[in-house]
């Protein structure tokens, strides 16, 4: 009997393949988007772990200088006192295509070096000769691909255990490549120490212990991943609306079948179990398809995600995707649990349904009206909760709580709001047909409201995120014009060459602005301090947010400092406040400048002051001021001088174009997810309308019998769908703007450290409205077409079959 009953149940899908496809597609889309986000997040996390655990062996505590570097003799003294330390020398190593993070370690004492190289490919793994010369450089094969040929490159060993954009070598080789003999950047405190040591604080008071601060970077990247996860969850929720619609439809249509099966003696609980089995099967099939889809989406988006992360946070994520078992299991589990949640209502209805009950739309609608009030109250509560959390707490989580509260709250209030609007319409209707249309729309509302909620969320997200990205882009463009004020940026190979170049340029009357900086330890991270040479360029062009009178005069006479917005906001320092750059170096803040695209804290002082307080301030980079028309000629001239071989040059336009490309790439992921979410929402409307279609025939037949043609009915169907979508879009607009404001003024400040002005783009809204309407029109097209082509006999049957 079980088999026969299950066969009867499944035969439904056989006869309604479109419906089955809808259900499977909806679930697969939901699982797919969710899994894609999970895969991206998982990959990024695995990459961070690789970078942090293996590169500077950062799970260990380190010993860092309060300023400058650690002399080799200090390392030896501390080793001789018994402390087991491992020296690391790290610096940027200029290459033609940018620079690499070059890390030198003592191969003998480094805690994890051997783990990193044991997977290196066998052909070029350690050989006796190469080892004896300590002359090998370890690189990820992908980094090597990016390097253009460099004549002075030492022998390379490839290992995929080395993070991208990092070169690792013995400290003897690295100190030569970086031209920093006898210098150490930090010392790793090895986990096992012998008995009877004197405290490091006494032995080396000028050094400070630093436990690996996962803090800042992970806080920054976490916010990005939280964003992605929120998107994934949103898509999943929208996808579940589809499942809900399809399952309800499938059950609605099979009521007759259930009745027959029950009448033939199939017990109610067996019927329920069989239905659950059917759903489980569907969930597994769709979930698997979703995983494939998710993998494809993630693989397509990951290069952009890694570009985003390295562009915004300097975190490196590999561009390739690995399959992780946890991901597979969680994807299927999400699909199964989601299906069960989405079908609970339908299954419960079956369980409770009296054996011979007749389905009716209006009655359901009345029951739904009390539901609407409940949802609206819950929505209000969520909004209140979000607002309260913003008032009580601050920070990223509070921002997200407000965001979630507002979004969900508004979505839950949507049915009630729409029903009010429709009631208003009904009251103002002049004709009988008009009254019927309004009433019919209101009657449909419970069935379609979930889909409309999905549309609302998708639209609001689109408006919010779109406004944020566009505002950011506009601000960024203006900022670049100010910040990249030199016409040409050059980097010399070494200090000798730099000196020759400066002399050569000054003889040609070109203003040379040295770009020199030093990094000092600062609150557990590093503060980059630029030393600038007083020049009108800075006074006129530097992008200031807040500035005191005569600020640049005070900077150039060495009494004051300018700081970037990130530093100002994080440490709450504003013009007039004092800032301790190092324990012994205090200056007054006279200005705050905007500094987008950089997660780190930064300060500007005058060059002589920087040189007095910091050593190791390389003088290799310069900004050149000259008439824009002369730039290309100058580049050619420099290229032709034999003394200047190896100098890298980037002109302003090129740099701007590149920065903008990075910026745009950064938000490709957001854009893609936006569009996908909207697509899923459109799909949700389609399934809802299809569900309603069957239930609506009994309502439509009398109207038809009264003389309204099928064609007219079809058009009405289409208009109705468009009207509901337009109403929803109207409600989505304020919600979207609120979202944009939250992103710009709350989330951005927390996540990136900068606040952005909000610009409004009404044309974008119009575009979105059109997209929403198109989605609604496409969704309504199938039912409308069915209606237009329905055989009159079908409509007549409604009367014949009056149940």
């Amino acid at each position: 009997m079980k088999r026969a009953a299950l066969g009867a149940l499944l035969s439904h899908w056989w006869r309604h393949p479109l419906q089955l496809i809808t259900l499977l597609t909806g679930l697969a889309l939901a699982t797919g988007l969710w899994s894609a986000v999970q895969a991206i997040n998982g990959e990024a996390k695995a990459s961070y772990n690789l970078a942090t655990s293996e590169i500077g062996a950062r799970q260990n505590e380190t010993l860092v200088p309060k300023t400058g570097f650690i002399p080799l003799s200090r390392y030896v003294e501390l080793r001789r006192s018994g402390w087991r330390l491992s020296p690391v020398l790290e610096g940027r190593w200029p290459q033609n295509t940018g620079s690499l993070r070059l890390i030198g370690v003592d191969l003998l004492s480094h805690p994890t070096f051997s783990n990193m190289v044991e997977n290196s490919d066998s052909e070029s793994s350690f050989s006796l000769d190469a080892l004896s010369s300590q002359e090998q450089l370890f690189l990820n094969p992908k980094t090597l691909e990016q390097l253009t040929v460099h004549v002075d490159l030492p022998p390379i060993v490839q290992s995929d255990q080395i993070p991208i954009d990092v070169a690792l070598g013995d400290i003897s080789l690295v100190e030569r490549l970086l031209q920093r003999p006898g210098q150490i950047t930090r010392m790793i405190i090895l986990p096992e120490q012998p008995l009877g040591l004197h405290p490091l604080e006494d032995l080396a008071p000028e050094l400070q212990r630093q436990s690996y601060d996962a803090g800042q970077m992970s806080r920054l990247t976490d916010s990005f991943h939280l964003n992605l996860t929120a998107f994934g969850l949103l898509s999943f929720a929208v996808g579940l609306f589809i499942v809900h619609g399809s399952v309800s439809l499938g059950i609605e249509q099979r009521r007759g079948l259930f009745r027959t099966l029950r009448a033939m003696g199939v017990p109610l609980h067996l019927l329920t179990v069989l239905l659950l089995c059917e759903l489980l099967l569907i969930a597994i099939v769709a979930g698997s398809a979703g995983l494939v889809l998710g993998y494809l989406i993630a693989a397509a988006l990951l290069p952009d995600v890694s570009a985003t992360l390295s562009g915004l946070y300097g975190a490196t994520v590999e561009g390739s995707l690995n399959l992780r078992p946890g991901w597979l299991i969680s994807g299927i589990a999400m699909a199964v649990v989601g299906t069960l949640i989405a079908s609970t209502q339908a299954i419960t209805n079956i369980y409770k349904m009296p054996l011979l009950a007749t389905p009716g739309l209006q009655a359901r609608a009345q029951a739904a009206s009390s539901q609407q009030y409940g949802m609206a109250v819950l929505g209000l509560a969520l909004m209140a909760f979000g607002t309260a959390s913003m008032l009580v707490f601050d920070g990223l989580i509070a921002g997200f709580a407000l965001l979630a509260g507002m979004m969900l709250g508004t979505a839950l209030m949507l049915p009630l709001l729409l029903s009010w609007v429709l009631t208003l319409g009904l009251r103002n209707a002049r004709s009988a047909l008009g009254e019927w249309i309004w009433a019919d729309m209101r009657a449909q509302l419970p069935g379609i409201s979930l889909a409309l909620m999905a549309l609302l969320l998708a639209l609001a997200t689109n408006i919010g995120v779109g406004t944020m990205v566009s505002s950011f882009r506009l601000t960024f463009l203006g900022w670049m014009d100010q910040r990249l004020s030199a016409e040409l940026y050059v980097t010399a190979k070494d200090e000798d060459q730099a000196q020759k170049l400066v002399l050569w340029l000054t003889r040609r009357d070109i203003t040379v602005l040295p770009i020199r900086w030093s990094e000092v330890p600062f609150h557990g991270t590093k503060l980059r301090i630029y030393g600038v040479q007083d020049d009108p360029t800075y006074r006129e062009k530097w992008p200031m947010l807040q500035v005191q009178n005569g600020a640049w005069d005070r900077v150039s006479n060495g009494t004051a400092v300018m700081i970037n917005e990130q530093l100002a906001r994080r440490r709450n320092l504003w013009p007039g406040d004092d800032l301790n750059l190092t324990p012994s170096w205090k200056m007054t803040v006279v200005g705050v400048y905007s500094d987008y695209g950089n997660p780190h804290e930064q300060a500007i002082v005058t060059l002589p002051v920087l040189l007095r307080h910091a050593d190791n301030v390389p003088n290799l980079r310069f900004g050149l001021r000259l008439p824009p028309s002369g730039v290309q000629n100058l580049i050619k001239e420099i290229q032709q001088e034999s003394d200047f071989e190896g100098i890298t040059m980037v002109d302003q336009n090129d740099l701007k174009a590149r920065s903008l490309a990075v910026f745009d790439r950064t938000f490709v992921v957001t854009g893609a997810l936006n569009l996908l979410t909207l697509g899923v929402a459109g799909f949700a409307i389609l399934t809802s309308l299809l569900t309603l279609w069957n239930m609506r025939l009994p309502q439509l037949a009398p109207i038809w019998a009264l003389g309204i043609t099928r064609r007219q009915l079809a058009w009405l169907e289409l208009w109705r769908s468009l009207a509901l979508a337009a109403l929803t879009a109207l409600l989505a607009l304020p919600l979207g703007l609120l979202l944009a404001w939250l992103l710009l003024s709350v989330i951005n400040v927390e996540a990136f450290g900068w606040k952005l002005p909000m610009y409004i783009f009404p044309l974008d809204w119009l575009r979105l409205l059109v997209m929403a309407l198109v989605a609604a029109a496409i969704a309504a097209a199938i039912p409308a077409r069915k209606l237009a082509l329905i055989k009159p006999s079908e409509l007549l049957k409604v009367f014949a079959h009056e149940r």
């Binding site: 080793r79 003592d106 004896s132 008995l195």
Partner: protein, 350 residues
């Protein structure tokens, strides 16, 4: 290649697997390095210092100690030097690498620690006059006339020791032909001398507290560029101090075709007799399971010329040095025709 074998390979610069070229790569040939020459006279104090043109070298001290708790203890302090290429340079580019091993054996526990260091930066090294050998804070320092009075220090995560060692002015023992010690039938050799006459007092720091100890110590100095023949896989090395005042150093180099044995007999009056290959015989009597290997921990030693026939037993059968390249090293007791105490080192057991 795991981290440890990597380090070993790194340290002794041999291609893996090690077994094809003798224990710890000592069987590789002496590319560019100086080779010990018969007839060379060792000169002191200069030869107490390091010989960077030779590939490997060690300063090797073992001590049999008795604690104020009446227990037998053994202490090992070793500084190894190995060169990636001959010569010395200042800074990280130096081709000299250093490795320290410290061991402390109690009847039921073996403590050990290892230190690695690059040459050229001062983290490890040896100076001849005044004599000092060090790696990190492990030190063997002359406090009186060279090598006659030494202070010895080492510490690990769970143990430490500090010992004062002195001789009554006894001469150094030059093994083989005036310090030229042949290591295989093929003629591989090293320079090898010892000071086996130290009296020791000092303190061991153990997890349950300090233990005051007294006893005897034996210092070995050896350097070479290729001390093993290619087919030799390891050695069993004995330094025995008999209650009669006589001492015996003997070793067996285990070869694929034949073993090579040699050694020195040091009479109580200080005269040294170099043993001819084959004079010294060692027969493994009992094996123990140590760190997953079968290792002989009871031996029968015979030296017919001195009417010696003794049984050697490990104080602690688990005297395993689980260092980058692992070996067995620990104190032993002697019974039979002679009685006394000594030290046993066994390498190359896989």
């Amino acid at each position: 290649m795991n981290a440890k074998s990597f380090l070993t390979a790194m340290f002794l610069c041999l291609p893996a697997p090690a077994s094809t070229q003798g224990f710890a790569g000592l069987g590789t040939n002496a590319n560019g390095f100086a080779i010990p020459q018969q007839g060379t006279f060792l000169s002191f104090p200069a030869d107490h210092g390091s010989h960077p043109n030779f590939r490997i070298e060690w300063w090797y001290l073992t001590a049999n100690l008795k604690g104020d708790d009446d227990l037998e203890y053994g202490v090992q302090w070793t500084l190894f030097r190995t060169a990636l290429r001959p010569g010395s340079e200042d800074g990280w580019s130096s081709p000299q690498l250093w490795m320290g091993h410290a061991g402390l054996t109690t009847p039921n526990h073996q403590f050990f620690a290892e230190r690695l260091a690059r040459g050229g930066i001062g983290q490890a090294g040896v100076t001849a006059d005044p004599f000092m050998a060090w790696i990190d804070n492990w030190e063997m320092t002359t406090v009186g006339p060279t090598l006659q009075q030494l202070n010895l220090k080492a510490s690990g995560a769970d143990f430490a020791y500090e010992l004062d060692m002195s001789t009554q002015g006894q001469q150094l023992v030059l093994h083989g032909d005036n310090g030229y010690s042949v290591k295989s039938a093929g003629g591989q050799a090293s320079y090898y001398y010892s000071q086996p006459h130290y009296q020791i007092t000092g303190t061991l720091s153990l997890p349950h507290g300090p233990v005051a100890v007294v006893g005897q110590g034996w210092l070995d100095r050896e350097w070479s560029s290729q001390p093993l023949a290619e087919d030799q896989s390891g050695w069993d090395w004995f330094s025995l101090s008999f209650d009669s005042g006589d001492k015996l150093m003997g070793f067996v180099l285990r070869g694929a075709s034949a073993d090579f044995t040699s050694g020195s007999w040091i009479s109580a009056d200080g005269t040294v007799t170099a043993l001819q290959p084959g004079d010294f015989q060692a027969l493994a009597l009992k094996h123990s399971n140590v760190s997953g290997r079968s290792i002989p921990t009871e031996w029968k030693i015979t030296l017919p010329a001195k009417e010696l026939s003794v049984v050697i037993q490990a104080v602690n059968k688990q005297s395993w040095m689980g260092t980058s390249f692992p070996y067995w090293e620990g104190p032993v007791t002697i019974s039979g025709s002679h009685t006394g105490r000594g030290y046993l080192e066994m390498t190359g057991y896989e």
